[in-house]
Point group: D3
Chain length 296, copies 6
């Protein structure tokens, strides 16, 4: 079953900070949401990759995500290589999300902004009808020993999403037919690797970490507390401890920061808490009376 929304980020716990409330809100509407972490967090000052894998699974459950995996791209060394693009493209063909959330394309952490370009270009590749991902990836792994793609993953138990996605999708203008990629303008036809081409219909950028003007925000007033809990699931990162006490704010401080950011973006749109996003395309408005944010 294809995902409706996939959020891609460089590190476990990134998504929880930038668009966790939005993912939860969409899951509550009945959509199938997923999270792809490019790295496994082995460079993190606190905790091990294993700790973070467990915590990431817990956070995914809290956010009602249907799917979460981590690739094996080295932490601190996310690069926009052909191999990495292929790896991400394979996930996109497997999970077939209609909406892809990427990190914003500027930022302080190189892994973040590189993940943005990597995700975009992988989405392009995933839609190329003549590109056989399996043969490309196995060509690479035969060349260079050590190239593997063992996923460290999480898949929601069947039935986890209690509301019916189909019901929700009926109201969605984007999904018009039973075939989820029918209107995605990528030629159909299953490859010999079993993965038909797929390109997300919409790509948006989670911009929380960047002082850039958002194109839009998503109201997460109802989801704010649960989203905060998903962040706190990363006990190895956010409980007060000795290691990295110079880098990490005290847990008491985190709540205040997270809340202020969410409230700041909420204020821009007349709601209590919100998460900010950028989209590159123009908007298309159907009903002027339905534009939600007041002007004056």
């Amino acid at each position: 079953m294809p995902l409706d929304i996939l959020a891609l980020a460089a590190h476990r716990d990134d998504v929880e900070q930038t668009c966790g409330g939005t993912l939860l809100k969409m899951a509550e509407r009945g959509y199938r949401t997923g999270i792809l972490d490019l790295t496994q967090g082995e460079m993190g000052t606190r905790g091990t990759a294993e700790d973070r894998a467990r915590e990431a699974g817990e956070a995914a459950r809290i956010l009602k995500a249907s799917w979460r995996q981590a690739l094996d791209i080295p932490d601190g060394r996310v690069e926009n290589t052909w191999e990495n693009r292929l790896k991400v493209a394979r996930v996109l063909r497997e999970q077939r999300p209609r909406v892809l959330i990427l990190p914003y394309w500027e930022g302080r952490h190189p892994d973040h902004y590189t993940a943005s370009v990597l995700g975009y270009e992988a989405a392009f590749l995933a839609g190329l009808a003549k590109l056989n991902l399996s043969s490309q990836l196995s060509a690479l792994s035969s060349q260079k020993p050590g190239v593997s793609s063992e996923f460290s993953g999480f898949t929601a138990r069947p039935g986890q999403s209690s509301t019916s996605p189909e019901g929700a999708k009926k109201d969605s203008p984007g999904r018009k037919s039973g075939d989820p990629s029918a209107n995605d303008r990528v030629p159909e036809g299953r490859h010999s690797d079993g993965l038909a081409p797929h390109r997300p219909f919409k790509i948006i950028y989670a911009s929380l970490y960047r002082d850039v003007r958002p194109t839009f925000v998503v109201d997460i007033t109802e989801q704010f507390e649960t989203r905060f809990k998903s962040l706190m699931a990363y006990k190895s990162q956010f409980t007060d401890q000795q290691a990295g006490s110079g880098i990490f704010p005290a847990q008491a401080d985190i709540r205040a920061r997270v809340e202020s950011m969410a409230r700041f973006y909420g204020m821009q749109a007349g709601v209590t808490y919100a998460e900010p996003f950028v989209q590159k395309e123009m908007g298309l408005i159907d009903d002027l009376l339905a534009i939600p944010v007041r002007s004056i």
Copy 2:
């Protein structure tokens, strides 16, 4: 009965060129739309103010507008004065639109960009609970003889809008109660002049004349031909004739230009014809799956 949408422009035939298709589309959805022309066109190279009044009425009928009037601000001399702000504010209190469409705030014609600021500031004034417009305007006219506000107007016959606006409004997230200004956060209470304060909920800017990136476009594919007819209703301006033949393109050329502009903006959003708008506020998106313009 309050208007749902009011489009304000400096000159008769401006609205037809910048947002006529959008006004028609909204009228066809059942909304009550109106047009406020600030001047009567007496400086136009072709035709008289009387010709243009007649043509403006005809164009309004073609666009299914419920209301149209022209103020007496001198053509070629639209200024953002207190008096002009009061005049526009009075119209806003009388017509009580929820959405106000202004010209974009930069442009070649000074009347256009000044109309933008004038309209914005009048919208602000119209919402001030303690401002009595009638007494302010009569104070001005006693000071300066010659200040009058004779409107040259058009009002649609009752029943003209065949579809039911109320039905449409039920689906509109903006209008939540019977009282159209209830959620407009302007204190209620009727002034001694009979005009309660009113501030439009939303102000957007028609940007067709300016090479600025629109925030969004409105699909007018279905309305394009009728909108073009509304422009052609200005026979004094657009029929081939001697006067101004150096300034005005030949009629044969106008069709090509109007169509190319509409198609250009349509292409940006994956539709055939569209009209471009700018909004100053951020967007607020409720459903990521419903964002309409594809990314890649």
Copy 3:
């Protein structure tokens, strides 16, 4: 005794919201600060101009301001006229501030952005050696009856500023000699009206109300609580009451908003609470090791 800093705003209680913490901080450093409100607030939905005058005095005391006055420009009608420029220029010559804080030049409220331009142009006029403000103003008042300049003011009792401003000024690179305007490059010489020309050395713009990127912020962590008290001094505006309950947020909500804004800007610079400002000029840095905000 000249002011070190003058904050100009359209309405009483504007300064408290945009730069009150900064004013307080500077007063605590020993500088003489002042506040010029252009209007007296008679258009406010809640309270009377008299209420606001009393509250403004109380707020000024809380912020340790040495001086505060309100001009008689009509509320809701701040215009950049010659007369208004002269009025503000007279205050600048009388109070002789070295730093002038203006509202940012874009915003939602026309009074705010007009106050910005008016303040800037008045600062220019105030420095013109050959301009005699008194004769210009009396020429105007003889022409138009009703032009008066009755100030509704507040002046701190002598000795109010307990720390010594001169001591502080010794450390200030700007003020190099005893004569406060010596290095302000405006020709000296007292006019027949007793007011020597004066131009502020520095003009900065308080940008809190606008989603514009600040040039810099001022850390107000120590001043935050007192600044909030100064805002709450406007009891007519911020206590829960019937009038305007649709416009005004409940008092419980105000605290959260004010805090989130201050914290958001603080986070940009690594401090807890801050107020944002824009300056038009480039910076001039003397010591690279002393640049305070970390990069990565």
Copy 4:
């Protein structure tokens, strides 16, 4: 002993042109400054890499730099590879600068703008507590023969800096404790390779080559002549000669160009000569009276 400031550039003689005056000024204040040239200049039209090494040493002495080295990245082929990032990161851990000056991130010469990104990402890497640079670099050199890191370097003789850096640092708000990286928020602890993680506190961008608006300039009026001498130390480049006479301006012209650029940026800030810089972060101002550039 750690550096206070390190300027990184693609080619020998780049630093002399973009921020040499600033480096000299900081050295005169008692700071330890250093220069890292990524390449050895073997592609230069004039002179050999050996000529340039000698000249670079001479220029460093003129600028009172405490340290200068050149990496072995190929001239004309500066690439943002993992290996190059590791090489730069090793220098950063060894020299431990608090301030890092990079070239601006846009420009005409690909080596320049690539050096900017490479330097930034290396600074990020250098601070990762779990990254062992030595083992990473030796892994690379065992893989690919020919990867070496022979530095072509210059180290100032002990005692060269006649003024005391410690005295200067007492006045510096940035360095608050004896440990130079104490407030740099990177976890401490020495690696097995003997190089503790280190991340510069501040990264700024020398923008002389780009018509971009600087964030700030540094007054180099006192340093201008000496800085020009440091540039002239590159005799192989700047003496009149046959080779490259089509590319290089005559020596007589260089003086006029260098002076005009410095004066142009000086004029923006009211000083005679200055060098321009961009910083990405907001400013943080402590004393409004101390902002140096006048507004009007």
Copy 5:
């Protein structure tokens, strides 16, 4: 005989600083150039309006201008009023320039940026076929006593321009017929006031005073020295003297500043000295091989 180029500025000696070299170059090509100063300089710290009138005439002769006049708009009070627009529009109809040079629309001096908008809107008015300037201006002067339009002017002696303008114009793509306004798309026909409507074909903005990126520069290497002489013709302003010694740079300094600015802009385009301009419209290039500024 119509002007080819008219440069409009707020104060005498503005044009000499921002576009004097360009005016001279165009005059040397055989074009008729003119200068319109809006004010007479009575607010200047140094010298009287009479001094400046004499100096302006001398400067015009040095720049080979064919025409120069000063309007009677008060110095320090340039406002974009109807009356001022009419005054400027009358000059435009009388002098009929094809190219109008305005000050850039942002700046430090309010007179400068207001002159920019005033000039633009006057150019618009001047082209309105139905606007009778004489009757409008006399209506104003009957209303308000004291409104006069005494020009303080300078007209070049016949034959002053030694090269033939017509010869030059033959090479100009703009002027295609004998009638100078024939292709200016403004309806012809002489008004009862003897002034046919006229709108400049091209409006460009002299941007020297503003750190804005120019659209293009004009090479004034050959004109630089003479242009500097035209500035020095303002003896009352630029000779060393007591009055205003705090504001004005010493004469020795002026040369260095003027030269650095010209050289800075020259360097952007590969020439020695240049003056910068902004145009709002896109360019139209006929021959890609003829684009003059090298890229790399």
Copy 6:
């Protein structure tokens, strides 16, 4: 014989869409034009690489191009590697164009924006006097088997260009001597590989695919129909067929789109059809009377 203009793009049929009219116009003026396609189109949904090679040759003939080749960079995987830069640099040294047209540096298709950076950096490399391309390329191919540079090319028959390029070049300000690279400021001297260094004098960016404001447009009114024919020469892409009918617009629609785009950009400059370009450098204007696009 060197090319005057070379247009580089990622895919066959890109150039036809973005700057085909301009290439044709320049060929008609007598210039030698060329097209370099980086890939051979093997990833295209419709048709084979062989089909596209044949069609590309036909399109080149229609556009009167003197030269066209395709490199062997993989379609869908245009990367800015050292090897690819060397390949493009070799073409630049062989063909020696004075003007290089690149795709704009942002876009939807990664191949497009990467081609832009790759082309720019290759142009830089091609001018390095000490870089021996042949030895660099053969070093690479010995390392990695499979690196070849078999071109799939097209060269116009001698005499194809009926007008004389030399005649045209006489009017061109750029080409001042017989040696086409004489004023290109790259040191001369033939390498052992027979390819003297060469750097294009001018690089411009075809921006049709991007909603970015062009610096200038080129009037292609006379060339529009032939340019459209060159696009239709790609029968495998643009005839109506089953494969990819979801991605490709029907042929009937293409004409309307292409025409609207061309007309839209034409309208910006007062001509019927145009193609848009961006240049990074400032303009340099010699004659203000010759600026072609009217302002108002």
